[in-house]
């Protein structure tokens, strides 16, 4: 069904589930959420291995970007790897890796930044991510790791200031 004027058409979209799902999460869903949490916990034994694979990919991308330059396709690929880790670190129970990867993406998330970013600072982020994983440092409660993350974040924020409002 639709109603329209000359430029805009409103359409009642068919949605087969509207009849079936009636509202916000309720008590009936709680056990399902707990069941999903349990299922996710069952996968925990694989988290470290998966994260290892992701950090390997990051390091390979970083090596290629170091050779080719951050302002190339390799630089963009490195951003994608860091962006993935930002999302995955906490999922895999290493929130400090999410924090470090998030800081790293601030350096290289757009082409203009990749043209000017310090490779040394980028590689420092990569090294910190590897160190966190290999030393099983999961969050910022570790004083040295927390301070390192804060310092890297400060430098990334300082670098990214000119693009802050873009």
């Amino acid at each position: 069904m639709s109603k329209s004027n000359s430029d805009v058409e409103m359409i009642s979209a068919p949605n087969l589930l509207q009849v079936k799902i009636g509202g916000p999460i309720g008590t009936g869903d709680l056990h399902l959420i707990e069941k999903a949490d349990e299922a996710l916990k069952d996968m925990r034994s694989s988290f470290s291995q998966w994260l290892e694979e992701e950090v390997d990919k990051l390091e390979m991308a970083a090596a290629k970007a170091k050779d080719a330059g951050l302002d190339t396709d390799e630089g963009e690929n490195l951003f994608i790897r860091a962006h993935d880790l930002r999302g995955l670190g906490t999922t895999y129970e290493f929130p400090i890796i999410t924090r470090l990867a998030s800081s790293m993406t601030k350096l290289i998330d757009i082409k203009e930044k990749r043209e000017k970013a310090s490779m040394g600072l980028v590689m420092a982020h990569v090294g910190a991510i590897r160190a966190a994983l290999s030393q099983n440092i999961r969050d910022s409660d570790d004083m040295v790791a927390g301070e390192l993350a804060a310092e890297l974040e400060n430098q990334a924020i300082e670098f990214a200031k000119p693009w802050k409002d873009q």
């Binding site: 916000p24 869903d29 069941k35 999903a36 349990e38 299922a39 996710l40 962006h83």
Partner: protein, 168 residues
């Protein structure tokens, strides 16, 4: 509208999960299965997702944003092109590490229904699924846009759930 739990609601429905990261697809799959959705189809790329959409009925799409060579936004734009799309009204949840307003606007402009911010939790996924299907949002078609009408977007009232969750 009568209340149905997620497992009753999702039973028999097909969900397509698109992500180039196999582990993340696995996390979504087990969460959906725990919710009662046993028919989860996976695609590791936009092109594979489009092949699936062209060949079978899918009831919900959950896609990552940042993928190569084509990204999730490109997938959404293709789906929201009625002239050529196999499923222009397909409910779409965008999985993303981006949470800033400008990027959210970009995704909404492409026709995304809901966002699931990474790292996601089972609770956030459940909320997203309910939000997608509970809103009786009309679609709007203009010269430059086809997708859910953003003007009628309503946030869910999760007060009952929040009350329960905080008491857990």
């Amino acid at each position: 509208m009568s209340y149905e739990t997620l497992d009753r609601s999702l039973r028999g429905l097909r969900v397509l999960v698109v992500d180039d990261n196999a582990a993340l697809r696995g996390l979504l799959r087990v969460s959906l299965q725990a919710f009662g959705c046993m028919n989860v189809v996976e695609a590791s790329s936009v092109d594979t997702a489009l092949e699936i959409l062209n060949s079978e009925t899918v009831n919900l799409l959950i896609t990552d944003w940042k993928m190569t060579p084509k990204d999730g936004i490109e997938l959404v734009r293709t789906i929201r092109t009625p002239a050529t799309s196999p499923a222009p009204y397909l409910p779409i949840i965008m999985l993303t590490g981006y949470s800033d307003a400008s990027r959210a606007g970009l995704a909404k402009d492409a026709g995304v229904n809901e966002f699931l911010i990474k790292p996601f939790t089972a609770e956030a996924l459940a909320n997203c699924i309910r939000n997608v299907f509970r809103e009786n949002r009309e679609f709007i078609s203009t010269k430059n846009f086809f997708g859910p009408d953003r003007r009628s977007e309503k946030r869910p009232d999760n007060s009952e759930y929040n009350k329960i969750a905080t008491s857990r």
